[in-house]
């Protein structure tokens, strides 16, 4: 369907282009995209199928064109002159009877190749026009106006191997002494408990006080309980220092560790 359309479209402008090309030959040398383009335009004046174009006639037309440009003192680009020289050579080859001693391709072969090049260029131009005459996205047909984004969902799964599990368990079990599994939570004074105890008290410690005085009641006699309470009270003290609520010092190795509130 679009091809039909194209056919119709194409016939008219070609005629217009013909007329314009004829004028362009005289006034606008720069309008050509190189010698091949010029040759193609010239060949149209022969009004024949490109396959039947007379290359000899074409060469003469081209040489005449170059001659005229020279008369008009139009500066021609080098490649136009190279083509002119080559066409002059081709012309002589085509006119003179073939010299059997001469090497290389015959005039006919060279002419056939030029005709092929012209035909190929012409075909590509036509295809380019056909292509651009096709229905185009965003002009004749349309994509979805409100595309929905595909959400990229990243799902993280965690994994572990049995070996990880074993090693993890072994790690815990070798960290402290192995002991039969019994509940002895009452012998533990946790960091949270120690913090809870120290927080309200530290506000009153204007002077350096031994952290031992912060140990909770009932945790000082039993060694296990004392150890736990001391450790957590010390840790809690450090925590308070970190929070900027207290200062901590130790006069000497193994000397009592003292804290006092920090005034701002």
């Amino acid at each position: 369907m679009s091809e039909d359309l194209f056919e119709e479209d194409q016939t008219e402008p070609t005629r217009v282009a013909d007329r314009m090309a004829a004028e362009a030959l005289i006034v606008d040398v720069d309008g050509f995209e190189g010698p091949l383009d010029l040759l193609l335009t010239l060949s149209r004046t022969q009004k024949v199928d490109l396959r039947k174009v007379s290359v000899l006639q074409l060469a003469q037309q081209y040489l005449a064109f170059v001659e005229r440009a020279k008369q008009l003192r139009i500066e021609l680009a080098a490649d136009y002159l190279v083509m002119a020289a080559w066409l002059a050579f081709l012309k002589s080859r085509l006119l003179l009877p073939p010299d059997p001693t001469e090497e290389g391709p015959s005039g006919e072969e060279l002419a056939a190749h030029l005709a092929f090049q012209l035909e190929r260029l012409q075909a590509m131009r036509e295809q380019a026009a056909t292509l651009m005459a096709r229905d185009q996205l965003g002009r004749d047909f349309f994509a979805r106006g409100i595309p929905e984004d595909v959400m990229r969902v990243k799902r993280v799964t965690y994994t572990a191997t049995l070996l990880d599990l074993m090693q993890g368990y072994a790690r815990i079990r070798t960290k402290d002494e192995f002991r039969p599994y019994i509940m002895d939570r009452d012998a533990v004074f946790t960091l949270e408990q120690a913090l809870e105890r120290m927080r309200p008290l530290i506000g009153f410690a204007a002077t350096w006080t031994d952290i031992a005085t912060y140990l909770p009641e009932g945790f000082t006699s039993d060694p296990a309980r004392l150890r736990s309470a001391t450790a957590s009270t010390f840790a809690a003290s450090l925590e308070l220092v970190k929070e900027g609520k207290a200062e901590i010092r130790q006069e000497d190795t193994f000397a009592p560790i003292q804290v006092r509130r920090r005034d701002r």
Partner: protein, 216 residues
């Protein structure tokens, strides 16, 4: 119906058949970047079109399809069917190693189940963050067990069937015992002072599986 409209409006040309009007509405709704009002559609379509009727037909045509024609306030739009929303996601799965805290907590649950949070903390020697337990619950590797008959009736944790499946175990009792851990070089060769762990007893005889397990 469209005939009537034509006659009323006395248009010069006849409006396109309703099926064609439906096609037009379809194309406009599809390509527009926003919902389109009936008024706007009428302005874009040939004179004499009955946009509302065409839209009703169109909506009907898309019933039960992957795409639906919906009314958004005064305007109309096409949207993918809500039940297919899952197709609009591209899932990428990233596998990460479980954190050390999570592995240790998991190991404790596996070896000591049913076990309370306080007991886990006791064994690990550090407090167990809520996130760690939640993560394991979410992975469905642990679940809540029966409450302990101790004061406060704390909840306990046990491992799940998914856990056993993942680690290729038939039951939690198939987990290698401390003895095996030791002989596998996973525990320091330090004899445990005091009594045997409760798992040590039950854990013998899993020897054949064991070697398998350590392959993983």
């Amino acid at each position: 119906m469209s005939q009537d409209t034509d006659e009323k409006e006395e248009t010069l040309f006849e409006a396109p058949p309703i099926a064609e009007q439906e096609r037009m509405c379809e194309a406009i709704l599809f390509a527009s970047a926003e919902p389109v009002t009936v008024k706007e559609m009428s302005a874009r379509m040939p004179h004499g079109c009955d946009v509302v009727e065409a839209l009703v037909h169109l909506r009907k045509r898309y019933e039960g399809r992957g795409v639906q024609v919906i009314k958004v306030g005064e305007a109309w739009a096409m949207r993918t069917a809500p039940d297919l929303g899952f197709l609009m996601q591209k899932e990428t799965v990233e596998t990460r190693k479980l954190s050390r805290a999570a592995i240790e907590t998991l190991a404790i649950v596996a070896y000591h189940q049913p076990v309370t949070r306080a007991e886990i903390e006791e064994i690990r020697g550090v407090s167990v963050s809520r996130g760690t337990v939640d993560q394991l619950l979410e992975m469905e590797w642990i679940r809540f067990g029966r409450r302990k008959m101790t004061p406060g009736r704390p909840v306990t944790f046990v491992v799940t069937q998914s856990f056993l499946d993942h680690f290729g175990l038939e039951s939690a009792r198939d987990l290698p015992g401390l003895k095996e851990l030791r002989s596998a070089g996973l525990l320091e060769n330090r004899p445990p002072p005091g009594a045997m762990s409760p798992d040590d007893d039950s854990e013998d005889g899993g020897d054949t599986d064991q070697s398998d397990m350590f392959e993983d």
